[in-house]
Amino acid sequence: MTQTVALTGNTAVALAMQQIEPDVVAAYPITPSTEIMQSFATYIANGEVDSELVLAESEHSALSACVGAAAAGGRVMTATSSQGLALMWEVLYIAAGLRLPIVISVANRALSAPLNIHGDHSDMMGARDSGCIQLYAETAQEAYDNTLQAVRIAEHPEVRLPVLSGMDGFIISHSIERMVVEDREAVRGFVGPYVPHHPLLDLAHPVSYGPLALPDTYMEHRRQLVEAMRRAERVIEAVGTEFGARFGRTYGLTEAYRLEDAEFGLIALSSAAGTCRVAADELRARGMRVGVLRPRVLRPFPHARLRDALGHLRAIAVLDRADSPGGFGAPVFTEVRSALYGLPSPPLVIGRVFGLGGRDLLVEHVTEVAEALEKALETGEPPEPVDYLAVRE
């Protein structure tokens, strides 16, 4: 039965895993995602889940165990954060290259040094080009819903790629939220049985995983992976639509707010989008027509969807909770600006890095950026294209 409950983002994801009941979960604990595995281990200890839990000695080993289990033919999940995801890094590429549909839940956190355990997208941005699909949840509800959808997206025959399913560390992972959880049988019905593709344990049809591919074949394999990533766009939308039909919460590649008649746009991933919507409402009350776009998916990057949604705007501020030191702007900024380049009269696009290491994004920070855009259009003087929010000089 559908229930309204109060859960943290972490326990919501753990409940989703309990309902999915993957064949194998291999993990190593790290803040702020520890509670996911702690809760999931409790489900196992209580006999509520029959999954095989592998307690690895590191995240590198945890994801390696996931790769082995997935190649063997199991439905496989894990969870991590920050340094843990960084330690999984080389195995992420292997999981993607072998086309193994592993679901990796990530409570997004900053990377050391200096040591910091708080919300920041630098961990998943570091895995941006690994070939894993990347979902960013705004709320605990969405983190739960994305976990269920991630299984379907990852395992879809047109896709077969790992999914990194992120939520903001602490801001979402540790905040208790009023949310809806679905009936376990309904979840099982949505997720469906897993039909592995060329499992190693199918002894009647032997295959080899992980051979050498020299310069004469490597590039074809990578090109093929790119195509799977492109097809994932349609699959993510279809799965989000089906999820909506079943459970009443529909998801797409992006989420737009008051954009139709807007002149100015604010773009942010994850929980910061809510702050942007409040700022947009405040600015509209003052007569400034502001809308918000939250990309829910960073890989595959929904560039065509962004062009359609943003092309009519006059100016856009992209807010990144991660940076690319020495680059011309942070990851979401560069991607958005690149997507809009080539439009007949593209909007002015600026990038602002905010909230590194879990620093709060306040509504006034967002309104300040929007007002800078407005002033730039009035005066004709372009603002700093790439800058930082709320950092002390």
């Binding site: 072998l98 193994l100 077969r160 060329h198 295959v207 080899s208 074949t217 074809e220 394999h221 799977a228």
Partner: protein, 105 residues
């Protein structure tokens, strides 16, 4: 000794899996060779230690008798010559450029 044109990305097996067991024979690696093993049949005692050690299964044997080398797959590593017992020394590694029919990479 040239490999056939490999498949394009639309048809190449997903995840770089090998779906057909034993298909390494279709992939010719003789062109990797810098040194070619040359057998002195008169010195060879057919002990077949080279056959045991060859990492490319390139030692050709019939009826317990060493016939020669599969030069389409031999990479010229020289292990056969190295493991050939000192009392026999039946295999010499000769630079590939010395041969008229040398393998093209």
């Amino acid at each position: 000794m040239v490999n056939p044109e490999p498949l394009g990305w639309r048809r190449i097996p997903e995840g770089a899996l090998i779906l057909e067991p034993g298909n390494a024979v279709q992939y010719l690696t003789g062109g990797w060779r810098t040194f070619r093993p040359v057998l002195d049949r008169e010195r060879c005692t057919d002990c077949l230690i080279c056959w045991i050690f060859c990492p490319d299964s390139a030692i050709q044997v019939k009826g317990g008798r060493l016939l020669g080398f599969d030069l389409e797959h031999c990479k010229g590593c020289g292990i056969c010559a190295a493991v050939c017992p000192p009392s026999a020394r039946a295999i010499a590694m000769v630079e590939e450029s010395a041969f008229q029919d040398r393998a093209e990479p």
